[in-house]
Symmetry: C2
Subunit: 295 residues, 2 copies
């Protein structure tokens, strides 16, 4: 059997494929992260995987993945697993072939193989969650980069010397286009600290300030999308994460603004849509890693 | 025989390949552009190509290339050829198979096949000339985009609401990283209008203001390079055009500044170097089009 696991800050998600059927599952891990208990975390994961005769395992994980070493160099949300030789660990425990990839890259591959990106020639995915994740699948192959750290689109500068990003840089796209970006924009408009979920609820209720915050958010998002279409000239861009899932209007808003900004030819064939696999996109992507080549 | 032609604003450059030897040639065309004489221009090109038994012809041209139509939608430097069915024209006149591509994209392919990018897994090229051209060759294939307009990196926003770009947008990378970008930076520092060639000469002579202008120019260039390595995680970036050719120190300066800005893993394997083919990179690239697949 083939399996994919997606190790996030709150859950490990699993996708198992047998006879072309995919089953998913998830287990909570936040307590392990808080208690810095990597042994407990790995035992829980192994318990789900064992007795399943897994021959190939894909691992998606949040952070900068060092493929050569088979581990995560830095992971702001799961510091516990930084530089732990996770690929080797599962290779030995399961006697399986292991593939490892950044979760946002894997999610792109998941959407390409199992989701809304099927048959796309140049697929770009953006996950608007806590941070801004992104991935690219070009002619069916993941753009992984020579060190496995391609598509850190969230950490491209869009406003030189702009707002500080969680990564320490200034003016990254993520500093504006993420849940904390939205929260900041709302705060600057209203002087109130609300969570992105609260801002989304207010926007859906027609609250003026929340709608204004989304206009500004969209101005940055659509400029980010312009950069993407000017670089990749893709046929498909899929958005995922809490913001587009609970405020899907943002997709229409972004496309409309993108049309004002981009070279017409660069958006002639592009479709912008919601990703399909939701919270399991990383697990599906990890599963897809077991059968894909990389760019 | 196979041939590539690169139609620019001043010259048409040719590259001919026979028995693995490549010969180059160029003809001036500025007078045709000024006189809006497309017939004369095409006759001159045909005169060079005829009696050579050309079976495959690659065309590189400055502007947004519409491959479906086989022409250039918009070309600020060669408005004369906008929407002229140039592919069809040469197909009929030469009875040859014709391939058309944006000149900066073609240049990337030229460097990959004939220049300094051989054996590179992910190659990015930047041409710092009048504007800022860029191209990407990923696993030997040109990233051309679904409409043939990928890698307009010069027209990605790096400073939202920044200086006006020649394209009409604000804050594009090209607005800073180009010969006119350098001229502006120098003007803002000194209140003097000098050409980029004059600024380069002054910098090479150690002039303080010119060196200061290059520091600022490099701040933008290195941020652009950071965006590139965060997106593509390439193993090779090649710079070409008048600025790096006559002020090659900029390459070391840019790499040094890039190291301060980028994720360490994203630049661990990257080499930044001068492109090799100089003014004929587009013609070599056009030639390479005749044997390459696209992404």
């Amino acid at each position: 059997m083939k399996a994919g696991i997606d190790i996030g800050g709150t859950f490990v998600k699993f996708a198992f494929e047998e006879n072309e059927n995919v089953k998913t599952e998830k287990i909570p891990i936040k307590h392990y992260i808080e208690n810095k208990d990597i042994k407990g975390l790995l035992e829980d994961i192994l318990n789900v995987l064992k007795n399943k005769n897994i021959k190939k395992l894909g691992i998606a994980v949040a952070g900068l993945v060092n493929k050569e070493k088979g581990w995560v160099d830095t992971s702001p949300n799961i510091p516990l697993i930084e530089k732990f030789p996770i690929s080797n660990f599962f290779e030995e425990k399961l006697k399986a072939e292991v593939f490892i990839e950044n979760d946002a890259n894997a999610a792109a591959l998941g959407e390409y193989k199992y989701g809304n990106g099927k048959n796309s020639k140049i697929l770009i995915t953006l996950t608007l969650g806590t941070g801004l994740g992104s991935g690219a699948v070009i002619n069916g192959k993941l753009l992984s980069g020579v060190n496995g750290v391609a598509m850190e689109f969230g950490h491209t500068t869009i406003k030189k010397n702009g707002l500080k990003c969680h990564c320490g840089r200034k003016g990254c796209l993520e500093a504006y286009v993420s849940s904390y970006g939205l929260e900041r924009i709302y705060f600057l408009l209203s002087d109130k600290h609300l969570s992105s979920a609260e801002i989304i609820t207010l926007a859906n209720e027609g609250d003026e300030k929340a709608l204004e915050a989304f206009e500004i958010f969209n101005d940055y998002l659509s400029t980010g999308l312009m950069n993407i279409v000017h670089i990749f000239n893709p046929d498909k861009i899929l958005l995922s994460g809490g913001i587009p899932e609970y405020y899907p209007l943002i997709i229409k808003m972004a496309y409309s603004k993108l049309k004002e900004k981009a070279f017409p030819l660069s958006i002639e064939s592009v479709d912008i849509d919601l990703a399909k696999l939701g919270e399991f996109s990383g697990a599906y992507g990890a599963l897809a890693l077991t059968t894909q080549e990389e760019v």
